[in-house]
């Protein structure tokens, strides 16, 4: 079975370590991610101006192209893409006047009214694969890996597009449990990382990320798991700034959830592209004996 899949621009350049392990993992789980032909930018940031329809064109065009493929569901990996696609979809469903304007401007030959369902890969794992099936497919439980699930904003806010309970999300914790890891709950897991604010005020990055990182550390996390390239970027830069400013501040590895998935499914570290990660994740994995396990299995299996 295959699922229409929307990668997003960053996943093709800076965040290949988010995409490649996901594609390999889903293939291993028997749900092939089928990249949408001719996809374009998701719009990056959902425009809040009421009459700013031009910035809805990009996400809606993607959704129309999914419909043209005869597909009814679109899977995303990047939390930001999920957010802008899902909100644009909601607009097309609910606002008849704007829908007509957009349809006639976009001019793709067919009309669209929100028929495609936009989902995040975590939802596919929860609702279609199921945590139990997933845990059965795990070859290398990530035992004793204390990871704090970090949601950020865009998976959960606004409420209408949330993939889980807005106030008390559990999807990432359940995911980590299925992989055999030890999730570390912490109160700042849905606090904003600073998002694009750090472009206009780059000096504020340490202050945005300090509460998140300190809270995760003080609750015993050894690493953070993220779903969004922008969160990853901000948290990584924030850590560096904090380490510079404040002696003794410990930087921790940041993982994309898909890297942990691939690792637990036994797909090996190469597909995870740890070289693109911040905060030396491989040394933590070695310390936890999680890389050597995979390597030894690959030797037994006769794979390089």
């Amino acid at each position: 079975m295959s699922l229409a899949y929307y990668p997003g621009c960053t996943l093709k350049t800076q965040a290949r370590n988010l995409e490649e392990p996901a594609v390999a993992s889903m293939e291993a789980l028997g749900l092939k991610l089928d990249e949408l032909p001719g996809w374009n930018c998701c719009g990056a940031v959902y425009s809040l101006a009421d009459d700013d329809l031009i910035h809805q064109v990009a996400p809606v065009r993607n959704l129309i192209r999914v419909k043209k493929q005869g597909k009814t569901k679109l899977v995303t990996l990047c939390a930001f893409c999920l957010n802008s696609l899902k909100r644009a979809n909601l607009l097309m469903k609910e606002d008849a006047e704007k829908r007509d304007t957009l349809n006639s401007f976009i001019d793709e030959g067919i009309d669209y009214s929100g028929e495609v369902e936009v989902v995040h890969l975590l939802e596919v794992l929860r609702d279609e694969v199921g945590w139990e099936t997933l845990s059965q497919k795990v070859k290398f439980p990530l035992r004793e890996l204390k990871v704090a699930p970090y949601y950020g904003c865009t998976l959960l806010r606004p409420r209408e597009i949330a993939i889980d309970n807005v106030e008390d999300p559990t999807i990432l914790r359940e995911f980590l449990e299925a992989l055999g890891a030890s999730p570390v709950d912490f109160p700042e897991s849905t606090r904003c990382c600073g998002s694009y604010q750090v472009i206009s005020s780059p000096d504020s990055i340490a202050e945005y990320t300090r509460p998140i990182l300190s809270s995760a550390l003080s609750h015993g996390a050894e690493a953070l798991v993220v779903t969004c390239p922008l969160c990853d970027y901000n948290l990584a830069r924030g850590q560096k700034e904090l380490a510079k400013k404040q002696g003794g501040f410990r930087e921790m590895p940041l993982f994309y959830f898909t890297q942990l998935l691939a690792l637990a499914l036994g797909l090996g570290p190469q597909i995870c592209h740890f070289e693109l990660n911040h905060g030396k994740p491989e040394s933590l994995l070695k310390e936890k004996n999680l890389l050597s396990q995979v390597e030894s299995l690959q030797l037994i299996g006769g794979k390089e």
Binding site: C9, T13, G38, N40, C41, I54, V57, A58, R61
Partner: protein, 272 residues
Amino acid sequence: MSAKQTKKKPAATTVKHTAKKPAGTAVKEERQVAARLIPIYIMGKRYEVPEGLTIMKAMEYAGYILIRGCGCRGGTCGACGTFYRKPGDYKLQVALACQKTVEPNMYIAQIPFFPANRAMYDFAGLTAAPEEVFKLYPEMFRCVACNSCTKACPQGIEVMDAVSALKQGNIAGAAQLSFDCIQCGLCTSRCFGELAQYHMFQLARRIYAARIVPRAEHLAGMVKAVNEGKYDRSLDELKQAKEDELKKLYQEREVEPMAAGEDWKPKDTRYL
């Protein structure tokens, strides 16, 4: 199109073709050919021109002398990008003036050149890293996927998809999608985000050809062999051969069959 309009008045009902004869034959042949005249509008002014002419020829017929914006007249140089509209249809149409034949009531405007800044770069210093292209053309991220560029392409290129490919770091994809680009600039003239598509694509194709497509190793080997004089003797023999001998060699040469496989070899392998 830089054009001068002469005072020549077009014929009202017939077309006059004056066939030029070589010097010495003083006969002036004048043929009267009946051709239906149709109205077109050049820069808003009505002209009656014979149907079947290209837009470019129709403009010349109407009295314009084209000294720019009329390069190859064969549909490949990109100098004669043209916009037109027809009454009753809000859609803007595009064409190359040298390719498109006139239709009744076309309102025509030439866009022989459209300003777009080309980034300065030292090609030798470029690798195939997408970030280098992002730095040279940062405005590509202003694209809102309106698709006006695609609609404006007389070559039928999926221009917006090529921009998307480039934004995704897919230089090879952008190069392949834009392969037919003749750099007429019509996409750029319609761009909401003020991108310089045709320059961006040219850079993508350069990088693709020089850094991404695998080098043909056998070509380097052959160039080396030629430089080392492998064929000098046989070339000298040919140079000294008499005409009859050359003709015989040419007529009796062994030709590779149309459906030859990759392992095909000529019977005479001396030159391999």
